[in-house]
Symmetry: C2
Subunit: 340 residues, 2 copies
DNA sequence: GTGAAAGCGCTAACAA
DNA sequence: TTGTTAGCGCTTTCAC
């Protein structure tokens, strides 16, 4: 049998409402009574029934985390976001329910309409994401972890991939490079219009063009063969490339190898700058110059924003600015004829 | 205002109990009434209030997934398990609540005693895990995703790491290798007695000893420097090694490189066999001979086991047998003097 | 085949 | 400062 608030009340010799108020703290209780009740709570190991509480209070203290897990190979990138979200949620006294929306909208609707969650955090937001208008119409606090083309009045948090792309271009151009290539994620990311993938690529192209430079990009599938294929095709078509911007979590540990196999030394022949999460970038040897995606912080920020979005005012987005860390895979351009 | 069962009843011109029975299906309802009610449900977009239902029914249809996320660098390995668990849970009509037990037992107790979850799946089980006796005493269905020293009557699912270790040893011995080294996970895994880490290492040592061979093992920290350091120290102490068994998710993509840098070609000088999840092993170039850890299947199996553990009978464990896949990083031993 | 009504455990408005 | 009580939305026994 469950321990109920009535059990505690009986044990402490008070009424249930007194116990309730000791718990919630919104009534002045005499110190003695409070102490006695708390002792009983401890003694009986009492916890309020979450269902009853949510029925009565109309809120659950649960955040729904919507993660489309079907993109299997993307999983290793997702975990730090999840971690950030759950940590921040706990700090607010909230629990996290995993909504792996393979059926897309249905699961979200169910969770909200059946009052299982108070609010939502959406991960893996696409540029044109059908979940965004759906969630916007739900009338619940919701935060997008990723920037869509139209946030529909929802708050969002994202890494500033445009600025990151620009930073990479400026860095390489500043080192004298004029022929700069781009290695992007798997084609499927672009097909499904995953927000960051498109934004990064577009910005690289735009900023190169501002410098009067051409854009040379490839998509690389998430495996060794795919990366090698992509690199080869890129360098076959444009052998004069001396700078490489890489936004592809799966190629990071392969890129230097692949370049070596194509007869290019890093950074002597080719400078490489990577945009990636820390856990990816820091695994690699030799250390790569990179722009870190602060996944965990982004997850945290999403929950913080959620805690603010109870109001009805349409919320704006937050873009976290990038920072470039030099780690030795980049070097000033040396004219070909003067190389040792 | 929420849509309630009473709203639906009114809309359909029946009583709430009729609606309830249409939903649950445990009463014979005339086809016309059923159709009318279902139309109303559809029309009003009705979903039962999860809290009310759990209050009344005494169950939540929620599974608590206990993931100690604090071991940050371990995150990339965890996701496939999470995926398997959530998929299988959905198939049972269950939701998944993420319990990132940084405070260990407190969060588990809270979730159970406040009736937020019907059952538990524990990940990252340690050999002597304080959560195991705790959960065993909770009287709720629970499954361990990992084998502890004493399951305390709880069901568990795990990969058969002993068998995997044996398989690796036998394979290398079968190829003629007599000096075989072992590269294990970070020291912290052994310190916290993470079950699989200890079991693997112990089994490798035991099986080697059965063949009259010595055990030479190192722990490697999860970064390039750590792996190189570990390998160097291993090969400094035992330069005659020609076979290497690797159970370290972070070194997989570094091991061949590191061996090259130490002047050893794979598989000519050194044969390498890896125990790792697919998403790790398949990312590497050149392809490594490996024993795949079927993380997703293990997650699924845990939930299946949970669906069976409603009974009170103490449950037994399931060990999933390993399989070795040859991919080219191993070769028969060639005596040193006959090498080209 | 269907309806009325009690009660799951909790909170808060109302009483004292 | 504390107790009494109604009712959140649902299921299910009991009655018809």
């Amino acid at each position: 049998m469950r321990t109920t608030i009535t059990d505690v009340a009986r044990h402490a010799g008070v009424s249930p409402s007194t116990v309730s108020h000791v718990l919630s703290g919104n009534r002045t209780i005499s110190p003695e009574t409070r102490a006695r009740v708390q002792r009983s709570i401890r003694a009986l190991n009492y916890r309020a029934h979450a269902g009853a509480r949510s029925l009565r209070a109309g809120q659950t203290d649960v955040v729904g985390l919507v993660v489309p897990l079907q993109t299997c190979y993307y999983q290793r990138v997702l975990m730090p976001y999840v971690y950030g979200v759950t940590e921040a949620a706990r700090a607010h006294g909230w629990n996290v329910m995993l909504l792996t929306a393979t059926d897309g909208k249905a699961e979200i609707e169910r969770a909200v309409y059946s009052n299982m969650v108070d609010g939502l955090v959406l991960m893996e937001v696409q540029l044109h994401d059908e979940r965004v208008p759906l969630v916007a119409g739900l009338g619940r606090p919701a935060v997008l972890l990723g920037m869509p083309a139209d946030p529909a009045g929802l708050a969002y948090v994202d890494f500033d991939f445009e600025a990151a792309a620009n930073l990479c271009v400026e860095h390489l151009v500043g080192l004298g490079h004029r022929a700069i290539g781009f290695v992007g994620g798997p084609q499927s990311l672009y097909d499904s219009e995953i927000s960051f993938a498109l934004r990064t690529q577009t910005s690289v192209a735009a900023r190169l063009s501002e410098h009067g430079l051409e854009f040379h990009g490839v998509a690389a599938e998430p495996n060794p063969a795919g990366v090698q294929l992509a690199l080869r095709s890129l360098l076959d078509q444009t052998p004069e490339l001396t700078g490489l911007i890489v936004k592809n979590e799966w190629s990071v540990d392969l890129i230097v190898d692949a370049l070596n196999q194509l007869g290019r030394k890093v950074p002597r022949d080719t400078s490489v700058v990577v945009i990636a999460g820390q856990e990816v970038a820091s695994q690699v040897s030799p250390a790569l110059t990179y722009v870190r995606i602060p996944a965990e912080e982004l997850g945290r920020a999403a929950v913080e924003l959620l805690s603010t979005s109870s109001g009805d005012a349409p919320r704006e987005g937050v873009l976290v600015p990038p920072e470039l860390v030099r780690r030795g895979s980049d070097a000033p351009l040396v004219p070909a004829q003067s190389r040792s």
